[in-house]
């Protein structure tokens, strides 16, 4: 399952359903006038797989992530997603209501800045419970129980369930954001620099927790990061971007230990020795 490369879109035509990718990007591009933020990106993401997108600032990582998560309409190409009912659909042809429903049920989106993904003024319990209420759960006790158990899973003391996230530390906020996203048991999670701005020990704890959750829940994830250590720890596959193009892609250890492109070699050699 993991040895797929850029050409994996062609596997679409395979008859076996499990071999079909969860998410397929085909010739995806975004340009702003003459400026091409992202050019000709194609890949397939399989169920249970974690893909890291690495590259320096301005390389088009975040633009790509926004297009993949249907927050930004691509200039060219398309993104298709295999829904829970097994039908693969083009995101562009979906109605807005459907897209938003998908976004808050089957998908998760973890922002770099937790303030963007959380409601800072309402309690942690309500933050976690919001998605449940949005899909029609109407029993306070059950919502609270679910919220409590999720707080425990992300290592936040249930005693703090009624505190607003603005009273939380940066690491706790990020863990709360993850709990809020995972409560509807999504199949695909997008993460934009999930460990950015956290200190090293907090990063390590967060990464460890995310790795556990991803394997426990069988999540697929697309992680945008400029931190190669995050990519190494979390992902199965890596895509290296430069100037809006994917310049190298492959298994994580292969790309990081034996980089082919000069730019990737530069990235890998830029890691500070511990």
């Amino acid at each position: 399952m993991l040895d797929v490369t850029v050409n994996s879109i062609e596997m679409n035509t395979r008859s076996s359903a499990s071999a079909e990718p969860l998410l397929v990007a085909a010739n995806l591009g975004k340009s702003y006038g003459r400026l091409a933020a992202c050019r000709d990106v194609s890949f397939g993401l399989y169920s249970g797989e974690v893909l890291a997108i690495v590259g320096e600032s301005g390389s088009g990582k975040s633009t790509l992530l926004q297009m993949l998560s249907a927050q930004l309409a691509p200039t060219s190409g398309r993104v298709s997603y295999r829904m829970r009912d097994g039908v693969t659909r083009d995101l562009a042809t979906m109605g807005e209501a459907e897209r938003r429903f998908l976004f808050r049920t089957d998908w998760g989106f973890v922002h770099q800045d937790p303030a963007m993904g959380l409601r800072m003024a309402v309690s942690a319990g309500a933050n976690v419970g919001e998605r449940l209420m949005a899909v029609g759960q109407n029993h306070y006790g059950k919502i609270r129980d679910t919220a409590t158990s999720w707080l425990e899973r992300v290592e936040i003391s249930p005693e703090r369930i009624d505190d607003a996230p603005r009273t939380y530390s940066g690491g706790m906020r990020q863990r709360l954001q993850i709990a809020r996203n995972l409560v509807t048991e999504p199949r695909l999670v997008f993460m934009d620099e999930p460990t950015g701005g956290l200190d090293v020990s907090v990063q390590a704890r967060l990464l460890d927790m995310m790795r556990t959750l991803v394997s426990e829940l069988g999540l697929s994830a697309i992680v945008v990061t400029h931190d190669l250590a995050v990519a190494r720890l979390l992902s199965h596959r890596v895509m290296v971007m430069q100037g809006g193009r994917v310049i190298e892609t492959g298994l994580t250890d292969q790309v990081l230990d034996d980089p082919r492109e000069p730019y990737t070699q530069l990235l890998v050699s830029s890691i500070l020795p511990a």
Binding site: E96, R100, A126, G129, M133, A134, Y140, D162
Partner: protein, 294 residues
Amino acid sequence: MNAPTYNFAYLDEQTKRMIRRAILKAIAIPGYQVPFASREMPMPYGWGTGGVQVTAAILGPIDKLKVIDQGSDDTTNAISIRKFFEKTAGVAVTTSTGDATVIQTRHRIPEAMLQAHQVLVYQVPIPEPLRFLEPRETETRRMHALAEYGLMHVKLYEDIARFGHIATSYAYPVKVNARYVMDPSPTPKFDNPKMDNCAALQLFGAGREKRIYAIPPYTSVVSLDFEDHPFEPYKHKACCALCNAEDSYLDEIVTDNKGSRMFVCSDTDYCETRQSQGHRGSENAAPYAESANA
């Protein structure tokens, strides 16, 4: 009679037509906030500019107008608006709920059951129920369009988490006709059940926010709640000190500096009607009792 410089009911006919169009659209889509070109009125925002424009647009020469503020016919706001229409439209006015054909209100729904020939006009300060949870108007409109109302329950959740019960006591969100979530203006939640399946037409005007919305007669209006924390209309545990009513919404009045208080009906017409029928409360005993004390 009419001040000669004014058109009937102050507004010019084109403006009234524009407001009537908005009202018709609002009735066609119960609970949906219809934008309209709200006019400057000769009173400050917050005094009922929205309600006055709606009233002006629907008022006819044979109508009988009643205006209440917090249930009362004799507060400044109610008297001013009543006089305004007396002067500019020359319509008959009344304080009796039963006699009125158009009732403009701020904060209360009359206790007496409304009839099919009546119209209740609400003055609304903030029409958007999601405003304090989601400040972006573009986003709340989209949420209404897609019927994404999970956020409304987040507010109720917060209430229970903080106070142990749903502590929202006014402007309690309702779902109209099983579709739009609506803010019933700052009426106490005691009045929410009266909106449901009401015989009268209910119109809501927000002047500053430039929105009109409506509940047509006999429309379902459901207060939002949780299965394990159902909606409960709140009321003081007392009866009216003047008319002894047990079923009306009560105002608490502090009577001295030692913490003494009394509860009286907020609906003055209801209270006076009951008193004229001979009902007496604790503070309003028959005259001979007073002379006995003296």
